[in-house]
Protein backbone atom coordinates (compact mmCIF):
# COMPACT_ATOMS: atom_id res chain seq x y z
CA UNK A 1 0.00 0.00 0.00
CA UNK A 2 1.47 3.32 -0.98
CA UNK A 3 1.24 6.24 1.35
CA UNK A 4 -0.37 9.15 -0.42
CA UNK A 5 -0.39 12.77 0.52
CA UNK A 6 -3.74 13.99 1.72
CA UNK A 7 -4.42 17.48 2.86
CA UNK A 8 -5.82 16.65 6.26
CA UNK A 9 -4.22 13.32 7.16
CA UNK A 10 -7.57 12.05 8.43
CA UNK A 11 -6.09 8.82 9.72
CA UNK A 12 -3.64 10.54 12.01
CA UNK A 13 -4.50 11.53 15.48
CA UNK A 14 -4.45 15.24 16.02
CA UNK A 15 -5.33 16.77 19.35
CA UNK A 16 -8.26 19.16 18.96
CA UNK A 17 -7.26 22.79 19.04
CA UNK A 18 -9.33 25.76 20.18
CA UNK A 19 -10.40 28.46 17.74
CA UNK A 20 -8.79 30.87 20.22
CA UNK A 21 -5.36 29.26 20.11
CA UNK A 22 -3.80 32.64 19.34
CA UNK A 23 -5.11 34.26 22.54
CA UNK A 24 -2.82 32.27 24.82
CA UNK A 25 0.51 33.77 23.95
CA UNK A 26 1.59 37.34 23.15
CA UNK A 27 3.59 36.39 20.06
CA UNK A 28 0.62 34.45 18.66
CA UNK A 29 -1.67 37.41 19.33
CA UNK A 30 0.70 39.76 17.49
CA UNK A 31 0.84 37.29 14.60
CA UNK A 32 -2.96 37.23 14.31
CA UNK A 33 -3.21 41.03 14.61
CA UNK A 34 -0.66 41.36 11.81
CA UNK A 35 -2.72 38.96 9.70
CA UNK A 36 -5.86 41.00 10.44
CA UNK A 37 -4.20 44.14 9.05
CA UNK A 38 -5.18 42.90 5.58
CA UNK A 39 -8.83 43.72 6.36
CA UNK A 40 -7.87 47.35 6.94
CA UNK A 41 -5.79 47.36 3.76
CA UNK A 42 -8.90 46.28 1.85
CA UNK A 43 -11.01 48.90 3.64
CA UNK A 44 -8.49 51.61 2.66
CA UNK A 45 -8.83 50.62 -0.99
CA UNK A 46 -12.63 50.79 -0.74
CA UNK A 47 -12.43 54.19 1.00
CA UNK A 48 -10.05 55.64 -1.60
CA UNK A 49 -12.16 54.32 -4.49
CA UNK A 50 -15.23 55.97 -2.90
CA UNK A 51 -13.23 59.21 -2.75
CA UNK A 52 -12.20 58.92 -6.42
CA UNK A 53 -15.84 58.25 -7.31
CA UNK A 54 -17.03 61.28 -5.31
CA UNK A 55 -14.41 63.57 -6.90
CA UNK A 56 -15.35 62.39 -10.40
CA UNK A 57 -19.04 63.15 -9.66
CA UNK A 58 -18.44 66.83 -8.88
CA UNK A 59 -18.05 69.32 -6.04
CA UNK A 60 -21.30 68.47 -4.26
CA UNK A 61 -20.47 64.75 -3.95
CA UNK A 62 -16.91 65.59 -2.89
CA UNK A 63 -18.22 67.79 -0.04
CA UNK A 64 -20.65 65.03 0.93
CA UNK A 65 -17.74 62.59 1.07
CA UNK A 66 -15.78 64.97 3.34
CA UNK A 67 -18.85 65.30 5.60
CA UNK A 68 -19.19 61.51 5.74
CA UNK A 69 -15.48 61.17 6.61
CA UNK A 70 -15.81 63.65 9.48
CA UNK A 71 -18.52 61.55 11.12
CA UNK A 72 -17.08 60.41 14.50
CA UNK A 73 -17.63 56.73 13.68
CA UNK A 74 -15.87 57.09 10.37
CA UNK A 75 -12.99 59.00 12.00
CA UNK A 76 -12.66 56.29 14.66
CA UNK A 77 -12.65 53.55 12.02
CA UNK A 78 -9.99 55.37 10.03
CA UNK A 79 -7.79 55.98 13.08
CA UNK A 80 -7.89 52.22 13.79
CA UNK A 81 -7.21 51.61 10.09
CA UNK A 82 -4.13 53.85 10.19
CA UNK A 83 -2.83 52.03 13.29
CA UNK A 84 -3.10 48.69 11.49
CA UNK A 85 -1.59 50.10 8.28
CA UNK A 86 1.43 51.44 10.15
CA UNK A 87 1.77 48.13 12.01
CA UNK A 88 1.68 46.31 8.67
CA UNK A 89 4.25 48.70 7.15
CA UNK A 90 6.71 48.40 10.05
CA UNK A 91 6.49 44.59 10.25
CA UNK A 92 6.75 44.40 6.44
CA UNK A 93 9.87 46.58 6.23
CA UNK A 94 11.51 44.77 9.13
CA UNK A 95 10.90 41.44 7.40
CA UNK A 96 12.05 42.66 3.98
CA UNK A 97 15.72 41.63 4.48
CA UNK A 98 14.59 38.02 5.07
CA UNK A 99 12.81 37.93 1.73
CA UNK A 100 15.27 40.05 -0.21
CA UNK A 101 18.94 39.18 -0.47
CA UNK A 102 20.71 42.12 -2.11
CA UNK A 103 24.22 41.64 -3.37
CA UNK A 104 26.70 44.34 -4.22
CA UNK A 105 29.94 43.27 -5.96
CA UNK A 106 29.37 39.74 -4.74
CA UNK A 107 28.93 40.71 -1.07
CA UNK A 108 25.63 40.54 0.71
CA UNK A 109 24.36 43.99 1.66
CA UNK A 110 23.74 44.07 5.46
CA UNK A 111 20.19 43.27 6.47
CA UNK A 112 19.67 46.55 8.26
CA UNK A 113 20.49 48.49 5.07
CA UNK A 114 17.67 46.75 3.23
CA UNK A 115 15.24 47.78 5.99
CA UNK A 116 16.57 51.35 6.07
CA UNK A 117 16.15 51.61 2.30
CA UNK A 118 12.50 50.64 2.68
CA UNK A 119 11.97 53.18 5.47
CA UNK A 120 13.65 55.87 3.36
CA UNK A 121 11.41 55.04 0.39
CA UNK A 122 8.40 55.15 2.72
CA UNK A 123 9.33 58.62 4.02
CA UNK A 124 10.10 60.00 0.54
CA UNK A 125 6.91 58.64 -1.06
CA UNK A 126 4.76 59.84 1.85
CA UNK A 127 6.24 63.34 1.57
CA UNK A 128 5.75 63.34 -2.21
CA UNK A 129 2.12 62.21 -1.97
CA UNK A 130 1.34 64.77 0.76
CA UNK A 131 2.95 67.54 -1.29
CA UNK A 132 1.04 66.57 -4.45
CA UNK A 133 -2.30 66.59 -2.61
CA UNK A 134 -1.84 69.65 -0.39
CA UNK A 135 0.16 72.03 -2.59
Amino acid sequence: MSVRYTEFHPRWYRPPMSVFWWAHRRSYLIFVLRELSSIFTAWSVVFLLLLVHAVSQGGKQYRQFLDLSSNPWMLALNVITIAFLVFHAITWFNLAPQAMVVRLRGNRVPRSWVSYAHYAAWALLSALVAWLILR
Binding site: E7, F8, M17, V19, W21, W22, V32, E35, L36, S37, S38, I39, T41, A42, S44, V45, V46, F47, L48, L49, L51, V52, H53, V55, S56, G58, G59, Y62, R63, L66, S69, S70, M74, L75, N78, V79, T81, I82, L85, V86, H88, A89, W92, F93, A99, H118, A121, W122, L125, S126, V129, A130, L132, I133, L134
Partner: protein, 117 residues
Protein backbone atom coordinates in the same frame (compact mmCIF):
# COMPACT_ATOMS: atom_id res chain seq x y z
CA UNK B 1 -2.42 20.77 -10.07
CA UNK B 2 -3.97 24.03 -11.21
CA UNK B 3 -4.01 25.22 -7.62
CA UNK B 4 -0.37 24.43 -7.06
CA UNK B 5 0.65 26.23 -10.26
CA UNK B 6 -1.30 29.31 -9.20
CA UNK B 7 0.34 29.44 -5.77
CA UNK B 8 3.56 31.29 -6.81
CA UNK B 9 1.48 33.83 -8.75
CA UNK B 10 -0.86 34.64 -5.86
CA UNK B 11 2.14 34.80 -3.52
CA UNK B 12 3.83 37.29 -5.86
CA UNK B 13 0.65 39.39 -5.91
CA UNK B 14 0.53 39.13 -2.11
CA UNK B 15 4.07 40.32 -1.62
CA UNK B 16 4.01 43.16 -4.14
CA UNK B 17 0.63 44.21 -2.75
CA UNK B 18 2.07 44.21 0.76
CA UNK B 19 4.90 46.47 -0.36
CA UNK B 20 2.81 49.08 -2.22
CA UNK B 21 0.20 49.05 0.55
CA UNK B 22 2.91 49.68 3.17
CA UNK B 23 4.50 52.47 1.11
CA UNK B 24 1.40 54.39 -0.02
CA UNK B 25 -1.70 53.60 2.04
CA UNK B 26 -0.64 55.11 5.41
CA UNK B 27 -0.06 58.62 4.00
CA UNK B 28 -3.26 58.50 1.92
CA UNK B 29 -5.37 57.35 4.88
CA UNK B 30 -3.77 59.85 7.27
CA UNK B 31 -4.62 62.66 4.85
CA UNK B 32 -8.06 61.64 3.59
CA UNK B 33 -9.13 59.65 6.64
CA UNK B 34 -8.21 62.04 9.44
CA UNK B 35 -6.29 65.25 8.62
CA UNK B 36 -8.66 66.65 5.96
CA UNK B 37 -12.01 65.55 7.51
CA UNK B 38 -10.93 66.84 10.94
CA UNK B 39 -10.10 70.18 9.33
CA UNK B 40 -6.48 70.38 10.55
CA UNK B 41 -5.53 71.50 7.05
CA UNK B 42 -7.94 73.12 4.60
CA UNK B 43 -9.16 70.49 2.15
CA UNK B 44 -7.85 70.75 -1.43
CA UNK B 45 -10.41 71.88 -3.98
CA UNK B 46 -12.28 69.31 -5.99
CA UNK B 47 -10.75 70.77 -9.18
CA UNK B 48 -7.21 70.22 -7.86
CA UNK B 49 -7.94 66.60 -6.89
CA UNK B 50 -9.66 65.97 -10.21
CA UNK B 51 -6.71 67.23 -12.24
CA UNK B 52 -4.33 65.25 -10.02
CA UNK B 53 -6.38 62.04 -10.34
CA UNK B 54 -6.77 62.43 -14.11
CA UNK B 55 -3.02 62.53 -14.64
CA UNK B 56 -2.17 59.28 -16.47
CA UNK B 57 0.66 58.49 -14.04
CA UNK B 58 -1.66 58.93 -11.02
CA UNK B 59 -4.25 56.68 -12.63
CA UNK B 60 -1.71 53.91 -13.21
CA UNK B 61 -0.21 54.20 -9.71
CA UNK B 62 -3.64 54.22 -8.05
CA UNK B 63 -4.87 51.31 -10.17
CA UNK B 64 -1.75 49.29 -9.39
CA UNK B 65 -2.11 50.13 -5.71
CA UNK B 66 -5.79 49.12 -5.61
CA UNK B 67 -5.40 45.86 -7.55
CA UNK B 68 -2.25 44.67 -5.76
CA UNK B 69 -3.51 45.69 -2.31
CA UNK B 70 -6.77 43.81 -2.93
CA UNK B 71 -4.90 40.63 -3.90
CA UNK B 72 -2.67 41.14 -0.86
CA UNK B 73 -5.84 41.19 1.24
CA UNK B 74 -7.25 38.12 -0.54
CA UNK B 75 -4.16 36.00 0.05
CA UNK B 76 -3.53 37.06 3.62
CA UNK B 77 -7.19 36.88 4.64
CA UNK B 78 -7.41 33.40 3.12
CA UNK B 79 -4.74 32.18 5.50
CA UNK B 80 -6.21 34.19 8.39
CA UNK B 81 -9.41 32.19 7.91
CA UNK B 82 -7.47 28.93 7.58
CA UNK B 83 -5.32 29.41 10.70
CA UNK B 84 -6.98 32.07 12.82
CA UNK B 85 -10.47 30.62 12.60
CA UNK B 86 -9.42 27.05 11.76
CA UNK B 87 -11.58 26.86 8.65
CA UNK B 88 -9.25 24.92 6.38
CA UNK B 89 -12.04 22.45 5.55
CA UNK B 90 -13.89 25.30 3.77
CA UNK B 91 -10.84 25.88 1.56
CA UNK B 92 -12.69 25.98 -1.78
CA UNK B 93 -15.33 28.41 -0.59
CA UNK B 94 -12.68 30.66 0.98
CA UNK B 95 -10.51 30.65 -2.16
CA UNK B 96 -13.45 31.59 -4.36
CA UNK B 97 -14.61 34.25 -1.88
CA UNK B 98 -11.20 35.87 -1.35
CA UNK B 99 -9.72 35.91 -4.85
CA UNK B 100 -13.19 36.40 -6.38
CA UNK B 101 -13.69 39.42 -4.14
CA UNK B 102 -10.31 40.81 -5.17
CA UNK B 103 -11.20 40.30 -8.86
CA UNK B 104 -14.54 42.10 -8.48
CA UNK B 105 -12.83 44.94 -6.60
CA UNK B 106 -10.14 45.19 -9.30
CA UNK B 107 -12.85 45.40 -11.97
CA UNK B 108 -14.50 48.22 -10.04
CA UNK B 109 -11.13 49.98 -9.69
CA UNK B 110 -10.54 49.73 -13.46
CA UNK B 111 -13.99 51.20 -14.09
CA UNK B 112 -13.67 54.02 -11.54
CA UNK B 113 -10.10 55.01 -12.44
CA UNK B 114 -9.98 54.48 -16.21
CA UNK B 115 -13.58 54.80 -17.44
CA UNK B 116 -15.64 56.94 -15.07
CA UNK B 117 -12.93 59.42 -14.02
Amino acid sequence: MAKRRAEPLVWLLFSSGGLVAALLLPVLMVLFGVVLPAGWVSAPTEAHLLSLARNPLTRIVLLGLCVLALFHWAHRFRYTLYDGLRLKHLSKLIIVGCYGGALVGSGLAVYLLLVAL
